[in-house]
Symmetry: C2
Subunit: 244 residues, 2 copies
């Protein structure tokens, strides 16, 4: 399934709620939306993730791009359990394997997009932006275009504007069809300082990317395949080719 | 649009995530699910609502029904604005009018059901329960069966179990087709102590229901039309017939 991509240039001057984790993908979306002249409302969810370092990256990126507003919202998902990102479950380091890994956080993107929808409706906007992609990824179900399309349909029945027909909510996913190398290339074109972004699920105590988790492997693979110098400090280099 | 109702008896012994606000509707659902022998996981969202009194009602109800687990999750929606329930906007007291009132909280049920979905998936369950209804209600778009059906479709694309085909998520809405009088009757049949529930959007300083907001008017109308004694302490009685 593919989704028709609306050029971000159509967002010029419009409010758009951007989910900003602090990772490479969402930061690339931020640079693209900012270049397009959108009025960026950046939403960062502090869900008590293991890799809290990404929250600092989100703060720095929101400041660098002078977003119209940045909300860092506490929404503790630890209590539910079920994920290596929120619980006492080890982050896998053996490479990206088939299937959905234990780093999957149940319904994370559904929850985050729902909160974004609430902010969009309250602010009078109807555009959401999320950096999901489903090629070089960890197999999370809520990164796939089928999910995004179903979320849009639901959003237009859930909201006042959807019911009154005064707005049609759109979830923009400009990275959906890109490989990780394609995302690195898009980031270069958008002028993003990729050293400001954070990907690692399991940061070392001295503040480096671990180099072994799925997210580090995909990140390195992206830089290598794009032929772009990787500014990231890794504690340990994974096998050549990224091992992803 | 109607939704096929699955008898709650099918939930016997199964985990079900119930959205428990502390109001009459969700409390009735709690009594029904408890009577059916479900393993109730009660989720109460503290969104910094004006009527925080309902959170105490939720706590007391969860304790009374000895739910398997009760999570009271802080999720501050004040920052987004746009609602009389979270902002410095007056709660209307002139009666239930056509259209969507300012007490609508943008995307509230979408957000709450999404969080419930996360808990359901993490706990290995696939049943959600919410007390929405769309007859004697305030016109909120996210109480309608069309919305609930779209949410279910989305949930089954958003989740691991949905993708792997090992579960089919179901949002139970046993009150969907009932009037407020029908809900009061259902509560009586379920043996609910309705004096434990809280409906008012704008509690008085001495802890009474205001008697004038939409929620109070619908509550009173329900008791009156059902011919059931109303245990609620109202600061002021609305016009005869509930004015709703």
């Amino acid at each position: 399934m593919t989704i028709k991509q609306i050029p971000l240039s159509e967002l010029a001057g419009k409010p758009v709620v951007l989910l900003l984790s602090g990772g490479l993908d969402s930061a690339t979306c931020l640079a693209m939306a900012s270049n397009a002249g959108a009025k960026v409302l950046a939403l960062t969810i502090d869900y008590n993730q293991r890799h809290r370092r990404e929250l600092e990256a989100a703060d720095a990126l929101a400041a660098r791009y002078k977003v119209a507003r940045h909300i860092r919202l506490p929404l503790d998902l630890r209590g539910f359990g079920g994920s290596a990102l929120t619980d006492d479950i080890e982050v896998p380091k053996e490479g990206v394997l088939p299937g959905i890994p234990v780093t999957y956080v149940p319904a994370r993107n559904t929850i985050f997009l729902s909160v974004a929808l609430g902010w969009a409706e309250a602010s009078g906007g109807s555009d959401l932006l999320i950096g999901v992609n489903a090629l070089d990824y960890s197999g999370y179900p809520d990164c796939r275009p089928e999910f995004v399309a179903a979320f849009e349909d639901m959003a237009n029945l859930a909201t006042k504007a959807g019911v009154e027909g005064t707005a049609r909510y759109k979830v923009h996913t400009p990275l959906q069809a890109l490989t990780k190398a394609g995302i690195v290339q898009a980031a270069v074109e958008a002028g993003l300082d990729m050293g400001m972004t954070w990907s690692c699920y399991d940061p070392t105590v001295d503040g480096k990317h671990c180099g072994q988790c799925d997210s580090c492997r995909l990140r390195q693979k992206g830089f290598q395949e794009a032929g772009v110098p990787d500014p990231t400090l890794y504690a340990e280099k994974p096998p050549s080719g990224g091992g992803a």
